[in-house]
């Protein structure tokens, strides 16, 4: 085992491979930062260029891109409340308030170190799990996918503290939007009103760009001024203390990494769920849950650790069965096939050096990207001082162009614009946008998996408890749903004896 790990590193430590790794990292950083682009676009654009490369070099390049994208995404998420990639939307929630308080450097520093640590922990988990990857992937079928989707929705609903009803409303809206389009189960086309573009449904990335990037810029223009509320408070020198913050919250990093690793390995669920789940669980476990959303550094560390951990484990279903863990992985599969590497159980046996080399490339790129990100913090944080009159139009333009660039459809731009306005209204009237995102991501999976489960079991519900993994997930859902009530009960029980001791007045 160790010998294969080492052969992976050895193959990577050639000058050509390292150069391509660095190139991939630079591209990943830039593409990750620009909303709407991201890893899948970068890999798709690079694919024809990899044609002439050796397979291993192509893997080094791809690993470089995939490892750096999250860091790029977190920078724009923190500075502009515009997530560079969908999973980074969770980083916006506490990252942007920190930037508004002038602590952009602190946030980016924490994101950088969380990225690196998450990536390392993710890598170790993947290396440990790869030998039993096949069996693990086979444990998750439609019943488990359905319960996971419900788990994701429940987790997010229970963290809309005090705004539970609003959370449910926006979540319901997200689910409704998720059902638009061609339904793979029945063959019906729903709610498209004859618009051909909507046959594939409302795509997540344009909607996300609208909800966060555009909405935020509209808000900024209405408010006026700059992102950082007071220019004097922009302390970019707190970068190093930001890096150290991660080490001060080891539980958060570990929790985020584990969630990222586990969720990332489940195909189709993807990075968004990993980051939001990690965020929500951190809020739940915190002693001061109300401080989240206002600039709690743990709210940056948790999702960032999850995102980088998920990158490594998303390789598991991709390499073991050729089932992409997400859009990025789907393009990566194409690169593999182009180079004659057939993903599948055989690959795990025959191409071990390549696989381990890729995993190391991912990790190296992730750490490198964090360092480069740190070097760029100073100039980047200046963005928060740019006046909204300049910043907003520029960002909105980039957002709309990025939305179009995904696959060249003008429909994407329309979606971004519509969701931009909706997002602004949600901001203005204080409705959570988190639930819309999660519902959009999970709605389709939940419905499809439920129908498949029913078809598998001829309409019986017993299947959810007959399989041990679904039984476990069901238990987790019940606990999560019950825990706020439980907490309140415990709180009241503790308060009663004290009240009894109060002297009668």
């Amino acid at each position: 085992m160790l010998h294969v790990w080492l052969s992976g590193i050895e193959s990577l430590l050639q000058l050509r491979e390292l150069m391509f790794l660095a190139l991939g990292m630079a591209i990943g950083l830039v593409f990750g930062a620009i909303p709407g682009l991201g890893g899948s676009t970068a890999l798709a654009l690079l694919m024809p260029l990899t044609y002439g490369l050796e397979p291993f070099t192509a893997l080094a390049l791809s690993g470089g891109v995939m490892g750096a994208v999250p860091m790029g995404g977190s920078i724009t998420a923190i500075l502009l409340n515009a997530p560079g990639t969908a999973p980074n939307a969770a980083t916006c929630i506490d990252g942007y308030p920190l930037a508004q308080q002038g602590k952009a450097g602190l946030a980016i520093g924490a994101a950088a170190s969380a990225n690196s640590l998450g990536g390392i922990i993710g890598t170790i988990s993947v290396l440990a799990v790869l030998p039993i990857a096949k069996e693990l992937v086979l444990l998750f079928g439609p019943p488990e996918f359905f319960l996971l989707a419900i788990l994701g929705l429940v987790v997010v609903a229970t963290t809309s503290r005090g705004k539970m009803l609003r959370g449910l409303i926006t979540g319901g809206f997200g689910l409704m939007v998720a059902f638009i389009g061609y339904n793979n189960v029945s063959g019906d086309v729903r709610f498209t009103y004859g618009v051909e573009y909507l046959w594939d449904g409302v795509r997540l990335v344009p909607a996300l760009i609208g909800l966060f990037a555009v909405a935020e810029m509209i808000n900024l223009m209405v408010k006026g001024g700059t992102v950082a509320r007071d220019a004097g408070t922009v302390k970019i020198t707190r970068m190093m203390s930001g890096v150290m913050e991660t080490f001060r919250h080891p539980a958060t990093v570990l929790r985020g990494s584990i969630v990222g690793t586990v969720v990332g390995a489940i195909p189709g669920v993807g990075g968004v769920v990993a980051s939001f789940l990690s965020y929500s669980l951190t809020v739940q476990a915190s002693k001061d849950p109300d401080s989240f959303g206002k600039g709690n550094i743990e709210g940056v560390i948790a999702p960032e650790a999850a995102i980088n951990a998920k990158d490594g484990s998303a390789l598991i279903p991709t390499l073991a069965f050729g089932i992409p863990g997400g859009a990025e992985m789907a393009v990566f599969l194409g690169i593999l096939v182009l180079h004659g590497l057939q993903p599948g159980p055989l690959m795990l046996i025959q191409n071990q050096t390549e696989i381990y080399g890729l995993v190391w490339a991912l990790t190296a790129s992730c750490i490198l990207a964090s360092c480069v990100g740190l070097l760029l913090v100073r100039p980047l944080a200046m963005v928060t001082l740019v006046d909204s009159e300049i910043l907003a139009p520029v960002v909105i333009c980039i957002a709309l162009v990025g939305s179009f660039a995904i696959d060249g459809q003008i429909g994407n731009v329309v979606i971004t614009a519509v969701f931009g306005i909706l997002g602004y209204l949600m901001l203005r009237f204080d409705y959570p946008r988190l639930t819309v995102v999660v519902a959009l991501v999970l709605g389709g999976t939940a419905e499809r998996s439920f129908h498949q489960t029913m078809m598998m079991n001829n309409g019986g519900w017993s299947i959810f408890v007959d399989r041990w993994v679904s039984a476990l997930l069901l238990a987790a859902i019940v606990i999560l749903l019950g825990s706020p009530a439980l907490r309140m009960l415990v709180h009241r029980l503790r308060a009663r004896p004290i009240a009894a001791e109060k002297p009668q007045t």
């Binding site: 694919m47 004859g194 789907a330 194409g334 159980p345 499809r448 498949q452």
Partner: protein, 326 residues
């Protein structure tokens, strides 16, 4: 200027103007190809069709008389209809061609407001063809088609598949009917790897899909192929259409046909067909095909058009059965 001289001047100017406007002789006519060619793919990067196109376009460039780039262009969406529309509406100057999943794209055309007509396109050739096969999970108690038939007598056999707009769905229903097996489809899976995994996991009893996909999974000892729908079986240990007494099973195929817009000239079609056939025989393409287990099966333009008609006729024959909502 005196009258006569002016008239002469005007007449000579007029004549030279008219002469300039006359159709120019051959040296000014563009030699095809004179600009880059866009090779449209109906799927996103990373899919099966994408891999085929990206593997042959560099080779194709070598065999074209002028130095141009053949650019693989991904136009995903609407189950392939978006790409089909783009090719159907393109100018017939040879700058846009594309690859089609037949009969998959015909199913999309039947949807109604598709906007294109496959039989009007100018067919150029074929890159490959896949036959289908039937497999069960490695741990399944089912060992042969007869076992499946026995199971079907107790309850419908569950097959994992895509939605009704997919080729696999129809392939599964037709195959099950020809084999005399009562089938129930578990639909909703997103792609071929997804529903094959479903069979491996045990969501369903069996799966019908293209043979290369099955072979890949079987090599990793997760699947067992029990039948291939070919005249002469290519998988040892698995029975074939002839042995099963159902030669019609071999008509269930996935064709990767290439076409250009309606009205493409015969010269341009011939140039493209020639370049494609040579590219498919190129050593680097053959090497890729071997490694990727991708079948290469070139056809001439006339053969490709005939294949399309055959596939459409086959699908139309089965349409009433398929639409009866199984």
């Amino acid at each position: 200027m005196p009258d006569v001289q002016r008239r002469c001047l005007l007449v000579s100017l007029g004549m030279s103007g008219a002469a300039l406007m006359l159709p120019q002789p051959a040296f000014a006519a563009a030699i095809y190809p004179d600009k880059n060619i866009s090779f449209v793919i109906p799927d996103g990067p990373g899919g099966g069709f994408d891999s085929y196109v990206r593997a042959i376009t560099p080779a194709m460039q070598k065999y074209l008389s002028q130095k141009v780039t053949v650019v693989p262009t991904n136009v995903p969406g609407a189950g392939g209809a978006r790409a089909a529309n783009e090719i159907f509406r393109a100018r017939p100057d040879g700058a846009t061609i594309g690859i089609f999943n037949v009969p998959g794209i015909y199913i999309q055309q039947e949807r109604g407001n598709a906007g294109f007509d496959l039989e009007k396109l100018t067919w150029i050739g074929r890159l490959g063809v896949d036959h289908y096969g039937l497999a069960v999970g490695e741990n399944s108690p089912i060992k042969s088609i007869d076992d499946l038939k026995a199971l079907a007598k107790q309850r419908p056999v569950k097959f994992t598949s895509t939605g009704p707009a997919g080729t696999a769905y129809n392939a599964t229903l037709i195959a099950a009917h020809l084999l005399g097996i009562r089938a129930q489809l578990i639909t909703g899976y997103k792609g071929s790897r997804d529903y094959v995994m479903g069979a491996v996991r045990g969501d369903g009893d069996a799966v019908v899909t293209a043979i290369p996909t099955l072979r890949r999974m079987a090599a990793g000892k997760t699947l067992r192929i029990i039948a291939t729908f070919e005249e002469h079986g290519s998988v040892p240990g698995a029975t074939d259409a002839t042995a099963l007494g159902q030669p019609e099973l071999a008509s269930i195929t996935l064709q990767r046909l290439v076409a250009g817009p309606p009205g493409l000239s015969a010269d341009i079609t011939a140039t493209l067909a020639d370049a494609m056939t040579k590219a498919l025989a190129a050593p680097e393409v053959e090497a890729w095909a071997k490694k990727a287990d991708a079948g290469l099966a070139p056809e001439s333009p006339e053969q490709a058009a005939a294949t399309l008609k055959e596939q459409i006729a086959f699908y139309n024959k089965w349409k009433p059965y398929l639409k009866a909502g199984h």
